[in-house]
Amino acid sequence: MRPTILAGALFAIGSLSAAFAQSSGPIKLADVAELSGGGATVGTNWKNGIDLAVEEINAKGGILGRKIEVTHADSQSNPGVARAQVQKALDDEPYVLLGPGYSGSVKVTAPLAADAGITQIMGGEAAELTQMGDKFLFRTSFGQQSSMPKVAKYINDELKARSVAVVWVNNDFGRGGRDVIVKEFGRLGITVVADQSTEAGQSDFAADVSKIKAASPDAVFIYLNEEESARILKEIKRQGVTAPLIGETTLVGQKVIELAGGAANGARGHVGLTTDAPVDLIKQFRDKFVKKYNYVPDHNGIKGYLAVYMVKATTDKMGKVDPKAFADTLHGLTIKATEEPGMLMDVTFDEHGDIDRQGFLVEVVDGKQVVTQVLPKLH
């Protein structure tokens, strides 16, 4: 019994190793994302965004006349599994690798993609990802090294706050953002009077908020996932903390407003990608997404969508499907939304794989996200 199972097992794995030529037939993209485990919501949005973009592009004849074919693999939000799945994806020699979204999983897989000479377009936002000297790694959103200084600057210039409380979720997303912004605060001479870690999935924020209240800061910086953001906003209102509340995309999104109700009013933040942006193309994207999946995507849905259009725009620019030249072409490339509407906004990729794009400062007013300031693209 045992030997046969084992032999069958070995055979099954061995037979998966069919290499694939990229010269004709459909263009193969491989996506590895957090489809189960702690990052399932992130990964599912990302996957849905990808599928939507692929469907659109194929309906219009594909890229350079060739259809796109995308495979999805689940990393279970675990770097070890992500590594195995990326290895599997790379063994099939895809044109471009999409994902993962968790920074740890990106860190463990980026060297593999670079070794294989395959471009990786990912969703991670940790600052260090694009500072490792990897020539094949690209972001789909602002890294924390570019979004956090904007938030810190706003707190310093507009709010004139001298002391601030920082609340963050203790995972690589929250910790990464916290580390960058605390450094920024230090540079600007703003004192951090409370530095609070919270747990993913936490439901009771009474203790955290009472500590913030006791520290009586000029402003509170909140960097949690959407659901926890909603819960802490309610608790902040309950305990009567009046300091301005500043955050990022995850504090002022539609989802938070929906969950927190009136408690979200007054929350402000910097937003890189939001389905509420006053941009027509984004509104159209949102409608298409809602029509297909029956819910409003978060920024991860936009990121997945953009990743596929980055492949299209770069390939169109090259005029051929060339995995080797892909990364070189994308470095320094500017894509205008008028030429490639799928990019939603004008964007430039620098030599590190970081992006330059306009951003928004928003405030929640009467249960609606209102853009108070558009931060222009730098170049």
Partner: protein
């Protein structure tokens, strides 16, 4: 008859070993990674099988010991230590912590012991995550080097797979020897009837602690190999669910059977991979498969085999008896 069976088993074993060495030689990198993962998880599950299956001490902390081993080896090898030395530290650290965790087992048993080890498992995760001066915290430790063993570089997937397979072989031989030694018999007497063991002069205290310490040390070995396998570790993979997974491997494979962990790890590591073609349904199907398997045979896969063999043995025996009886009758 029984000699024949023995040769058959040895032959089958040799075929499996030969297959494990020869067939993966032309596997792709993914296949080798998964098989290496299987070897590593089997080592960890063998440790738990020793603690739980042979000595009867329920532990929900084996995943934490894999973590302890992984962090020890990751920290030391990134500071320039060679892997064998780092592995030594992994083993020693998890052995000592395992020994200490054994003390509650002297006071409480069964599910209460499970709860203590469960709490320990979560505490270990918090330490991995929060003590960033040592463990790199939530960012983890990256660029963990793969070792040179006797001058051979193992940074390619195939040599590293052989390293994992070789380690599995060494651990298997050691465990095989251990459970046949007086120690192994003492462990089993703890499981079967601790009071009688004590009255027969077995130092139950010492053997309980030993069962924990040795089982945990094997978790440490697995962790020590896991770190260079993935070359990046962070706290998340070593949370409670790894301990529960390992427990599942032992139970599903067949708790208290030598080959149980091999099969259990195969189910836990390879089955989800085979089911991946079903896309979003693969974990669901995997869960259903495990439930059905357990309902069918709560004693695990080897439990089924054991029952089957026992049945056949009784049948053969009764057939032999019948033949003997009829011969006896014809003689008369």
């Amino acid at each position: 008859m029984s000699a024949n069976g023995r040769y058959l088993r040895i032959a089958a074993g040799l075929v499996v070993i030969a297959a494990l060495i020869a067939i993966p030689a032309n596997f792709n990198r993914y296949g080798l990674f998964i098989l290496s993962q299987w070897a590593v998880m089997t080592i960890a599950a063998m440790g738990l099988n020793l603690t739980l299956g042979y000595a009867g001490q329920v532990s929900l902390a084996q995943g934490a010991f894999v973590g302890v081993g992984a962090y020890a080896s990751a920290i030391l090898t990134t500071h320039g230590w060679p892997l064998p030395a780092a592995l030594g530290v992994s083993i020693l650290t998890s052995f000592i912590i395992g020994w200490l965790l054994g003390y509650p087992a002297l006071r409480v048993q069964h599910h209460y012991l499970a709860f203590v080890t469960l709490a320990f498992s979560t505490l270990a995760f918090l330490v991995f995550r929060n003590e960033s001066w040592l463990t790199g915290g939530i960012y983890g430790i990256s660029n963990i080097p793969r070792p040179h063993i006797f001058g051979f570089a193992t940074n390619k997937p195939l040599p590293f797979y052989y390293l994992c397979l070789g380690s599995l072989a060494i651990v298997s031989l050691a465990v095989w020897w251990l459970i046949r030694s007086p120690w192994g018999r003492a462990f089993m007497s703890l499981r079967e009837n601790p009071l009688r063991a004590q009255s027969l002069g077995v130092d139950t205290r010492r053997y309980t602690l030993m069962a924990f310490a040795i089982g945990s040390a094997l978790g440490g070995v697995a962790g020590g190999l896991y770190a260079p396998l993935t070359q990046y570790i962070d706290p998340v993979p070593f949370n409670l669910s790894l301990s529960l997974d390992l427990l599942m491997m032992v139970i599903v494979g067949g708790s208290g059977f030598f080959f149980g962990p091999f099969l259990g790890a195969m189910i836990a590591v390879l089955l989800p991979e085979w089911l991946r073609f079903t896309q979003g349904y693969y974990l669901m199907l995997y869960a259903i498969a495990v439930i059905v398997l357990l309902i069918w045979s709560p004693t695990g896969i080897l439990g089924i085999l054991d029952r089957f063999l026992a049945n056949r043995r009784t049948k053969t025996a009764s057939a032999l008896r019948a033949v003997a009886k009829s011969r006896l009758e014809t003689v008369q």
